[in-house]
């Protein structure tokens, strides 16, 4: 009786730990690091349908032979459940060696001799499969199966919940069309960069980007082709920046690039590189190849010391309008002495 209560307490604590883990890796870690408290296992494995990630948590004493057996068997069970033939090369294996609390330890010639595998299912959809693995024959009984099924139910439900949270976070952060950061996220990041820059007197530059003659593209070829143009520019912007630069869709056909720790002269070089890259990369629109162009306005600290991020953006916007006025397809930068009109014209 005491053993049953102890097992139930352990089961309860495992389910609580899974439930409290917000993210996918946390859910798997919560199970992987605790299941040996409840089952005499040498390994716990889980293969996820999305991205085909295979996690194997093994006791330190597990032999190579045993681990290979676990991997093969987990893939086999997954294929059985999903009806999909899996090429082992498609799978990303993540192996974690732990000191398990199981009664049995492996030896150098241990092999997989028994297992329980259960599908991870939520609302009728298979998310993956999870397995308990042992190097002993008949290591699992009906009670182990009952307990493990409760655990896999909780895992599947927590995974689904974490997917929903993660897609909500994604929607709050990214522009759905271009997959760049959206305006909301940009406001947060720029606020932070602006505060850091003004407090630490570090340089900070921003570049406002606008696609030239975008409306005629939409009018002539339709909105789908217009969307293609936005995605095309977004991809060039992403590819032209350093890994710590931040690019976002500002709205409509406008983008804003944040260049942390960057002086005006360097920001202008980056902006010019982007302009040239757009100009020379053709886009297929309908049956035609079109070379789009963009206009860019640059503002930078410490060339100016705006009072707020809104004022900072306004300076870049003024420079952008200067570029448009001068005939488009060029980079202009904001000159404070000639406020409100930017006079620095770099190209053309």
């Amino acid at each position: 009786m005491r053993i049953i209560f102890k097992n139930l307490r352990t089961l309860w604590s495992i389910i609580n730990a899974i439930n409290a883990s917000g993210e996918l890796t946390g859910i798997i870690e919560a199970a992987g690091s605790r299941l040996s408290h409840l089952f005499d296992i040498l390994a716990f494995s889980i293969l996820l349908k999305k991205d085909l990630d295979l996690y194997v948590y093994c006791d330190e004493s597990s032999s190579r032979l045993f681990v290979d057996g676990v991997v093969q068997n987990t893939i086999k069970t997954f294929s059985f459940i999903t009806g999909e033939r899996i090429n082992p090369e498609q799978i990303t294996k993540r192996l974690a060696m732990r000191r398990f609390e199981s009664r049995w330890k492996g030896t150098s010639d241990s092999r997989l001799k028994s297992y329980i595998s259960l599908p991870l299912i939520n609302e009728g959809k298979v998310l993956g499969c999870a397995s308990l693995n042992s190097d002993h024959t008949n290591a699992f009984d009906a009670q182990a199966l009952q307990f493990f099924s409760l655990i896999t139910y909780q895992m599947a439900s927590s995974m689904k919940h974490s997917q929903i949270i993660s897609s909500m976070k994604d929607m709050a952060t990214y522009d759905t069309l271009t997959r760049l950061y959206n305006r909301r996220h940009l406001d947060q990041v720029l606020e932070e960069e602006f505060r850091n820059s003004t407090l630490s007197k570090q340089p900070l530059a921003i570049v406002m980007v606008d696609i030239d003659h975008f409306k005629p593209i939409n009018d002539r070829y339709g909105h789908d082709e217009g969307d293609k143009a936005l995605i095309h520019i977004a991809s060039i912007l992403k590819g032209s920046l350093r890994n710590y630069d931040i690019v976002s869709r500002f709205g409509g056909e406008e983008f804003l690039v944040i260049l942390p720790k960057t002086l005006m002269k360097d920001a202008v070089v980056i902006a010019e590189r982007i302009r040239r890259s757009v100009e020379t990369t053709p886009l297929s629109v309908g049956d035609e190849k079109v070379n789009l162009t963009i206009s860019l306005g640059v503002a930078a600290i410490p060339a100016i010391w705006p009072d707020s991020k809104e004022e900072f953006i306004k300076c870049a916007d003024i420079a952008l309008y200067e570029a448009k006025d001068k005939g488009r397809n060029r980079v202009c930068f904001y000159v404070p002495t000639q406020h409100p009109v930017a006079k620095g014209v770099l190209s053309r």
């Binding site: 297992y115 329980i116 259960l118 299912i121 199966l145």
Partner: protein, 125 residues
């Protein structure tokens, strides 16, 4: 003749209905209703090309029902019906084996074997 065939079919369906409900009762205690419903549907899906009558089995988290099959079984011979159910039970056991070796099947054998024998007798009568 047709009436005799229909009666034999209904008797078989009754027998397999009892068997499947016993399987449902025992296995759902082990792995839960939704997982079991998933496995049964998976099994039906995989063998229904060979045994089309099995498409008339209704499965949900509430349980397994052969009521629709009762009204659809007039054209089937008792032998075909029996073979279909035999194939289904065998495939279901294979599914359980693939997931949990003999843990589930051990719990079921005492229930299933006598009923399968009874069905065999019914057919040979």
């Amino acid at each position: 003749m047709r009436k005799k065939k229909t009666t034999a079919n209904l008797d078989l369906i009754d027998l397999y209905s009892r068997l499947l409900n016993e399987i449902w009762g025992k296995v759902s205690e082990l792995i839960g209703e939704s997982l079991l419903a998933f496995l049964i549907l998976l099994t039906i899906d995989r063998i229904s090309d060979k045994f089309p009558i099995l498409r008339e089995i209704r499965v949900s988290e509430a349980g397994i029902s052969l009521e629709t099959m009762r009204s659809q079984c007039q054209d089937a011979s008792p032998e075909d019906l029996h073979r279909s159910f035999q194939g289904f039970v065998k495939s279901l056991f294979n599914s359980f084996t693939a997931l949990a070796a003999n843990v589930i099947n051990r719990e079921l054998l005492s229930t299933v074997l006598p009923k399968l024998r009874e069905a065999e007798k019914m057919i040979s009568r």
